[in-house]
């Protein structure tokens, strides 16, 4: 989480890519692919990234890729990394296999007519590698920046015209989304909870107390009560107690509340 997911690419020349402290730390040595070199999961930002990693790891000359070997390693890696579900990786795998086959075709007698089937791939890899170098540079620059804070307080210059504004359509659309997200929807307010049924609870309590002089609260709410049932029963109990129909008692603190029928004449 705290590391840049930026790969460090192979040491070539002394350009900006060198001295980069950013390496792929999430490339843990838990999946050895082929002999001896280690790849790891997640951290690949695409098939070119993985391919470049395989090439650089083995110090293969990019302009003369042993395509059969690399294709095999690529396939092994994506199946091991669980990337063989991703269309982009499969597409690259297919592409490598096609190049492999083209390499096997007999060359025309006139060698000048021969077109290296790997040429386009090499071009793409070099282009990608270059983008990677810039990406690393950007990461380092952003990292430096985020550790060195500039001045935070900006005084308004006296009597100066207001600074130019920057805002754009995406800003506006983002604001639209924010406003929409903030508008409470009418139906959120319409609570369709089951209504309380105090009358029903009162009837049930009276029926129970006809058979026995005393019941406990748990019996009163019935089996598998809903919140509404519990609250309805509670209100009914309190109301009946207020009217002197029942009495509430507890044997000791925290023990179940017992509902005791008062004498019949009082309840009337």
């Amino acid at each position: 989480m705290t590391t840049f997911e930026t790969a460090e690419f192979g040491g070539r020349g002394s350009g900006l890519g060198n001295g980069t402290p950013l390496n792929r730390e999430s490339r843990t040595p838990n999946s050895a692919v082929d002999s001896g070199f280690v790849v790891q999961l997640e951290a690949f930002s695409g098939p070119l990234d993985l391919l470049l990693h395989l090439i650089r790891e083995q110090e293969i000359e990019i302009t003369d890729i042993p395509i059969a070997k690399i294709a095999e390693q690529f396939l092994a890696a994506i199946s091991q990394l669980g990337l063989n579900q991703a269309a982009e990786y499969l597409e690259m795998a297919a592409h490598l296999l096609r190049i492999k086959i083209q390499m096997l075709l007999p060359r025309p007698l006139d060698d000048r007519e021969w077109e290296d089937p790997r040429a386009e791939l090499v071009r793409r890899l070099l282009e990608y590698e270059q983008i990677r170098e810039v990406a690393n540079w950007l990461a380092r620059q952003a990292e430096w920046r985020s550790d060195h804070f500039p001045r935070g307080y900006l005084p308004e210059p006296p009597d100066a015209p207001p600074p130019p504004l920057v805002f754009s359509l995406p800003d506006l659309m983002h604001a639209v989304e924010e406003v929409l997200a903030g508008i409470p929807r009418a139906d959120i307010h319409r609570v369709v909870a089951r209504p309380l049924d105090v009358e029903g609870a009162t009837r049930r309590l009276r029926a129970l107390l006809e058979t026995r002089p005393q019941i406990d609260f748990r019996e009163a709410v019935g089996e598998s009560p809903t919140v509404a049932d519990v609250i309805s029963t509670l209100i009914a109990v309190l109301e009946m107690s207020r009217l002197g129909e029942i009495r509430l008692q507890q044997a000791q603190p925290f023990s179940p509340v017992e509902i005791v029928r008062e004498s019949v004449d009082q309840a009337a």
């Binding site: 900006l154 100066a160 504004l165 805002f167 359509l169 929807r185």
Partner: protein, 182 residues
């Protein structure tokens, strides 16, 4: 300069607003208020006696490093403070509502966003993005706002119909229904 003084200098420098004692303490919870006071005194003395171009001031809501007044004019003349500003989220949201619901009155905007809008409206008007375009016929004849040509220009639009999803959003951006009673 001791380590605490250096930390306070860095924090005060980078903070966008004055820092009160409570905020300064969160920087270094191990330090006592007296130690922080002492460090602030040290910093103030260094700026004062070292003949710096800035000074440490204590304001109502905390401490702040500010440039010395004597340089204000030269700095303003050189116009080096100027830099593009982004609109605040509040301003953008208000602008979004006006763009899609114009002409629209202040109270409708406030109903939608749930907060007072006058400050933001004034700012947007000063910046030339909105303007008063009329008065409502309803009680009190409140002012109605709309976007300006400057607004379209900033977005590179020819007219309001080029706003994305204009019809759909002008319907969606409505004040919420009053909550239904129990």
């Amino acid at each position: 300069m001791n380590q605490l003084t250096r930390l306070l200098e860095a924090a005060l420098f980078s903070a966008a607003h004055p820092l009160g004692m409570a905020e300064l303490r969160t920087l270094e919870p191990a330090a006592t208020p007296e130690e922080i006071r002492a460090a602030l005194d040290e910093l103030r003395d260094i700026y004062q006696n070292g003949g710096h171009g800035v000074e440490l001031v204590e304001l109502a809501d905390g401490f702040q490093i500010v440039t010395r007044r004597e340089f204000a004019e030269q700095i303003a003349l050189a116009q080096i403070i100027q830099r593009p500003r982004r609109l605040s989220a509040a301003a953008l949201e208000t602008l979004a509502i006006i763009a899609y619901r114009q002409p629209v009155g202040r109270s409708e905007i406030e109903d939608i966003r749930g907060v007072a809008a006058d400050g933001v409206l004034r700012l947007l008007q000063e910046r030339g993005l909105i303007d008063v375009v009329g008065r409502s016929e309803s009680l009190g004849r409140p002012l109605l706002y709309g976007t300006t040509p400057g607004f379209l220009e900033m977005l590179g639009l020819r007219d309001l119909n080029e706003l994305p999803r204009a019809e759909e959003l002008s319907v969606a951006l409505r004040p919420p229904e009053p909550a239904t009673g129990p």
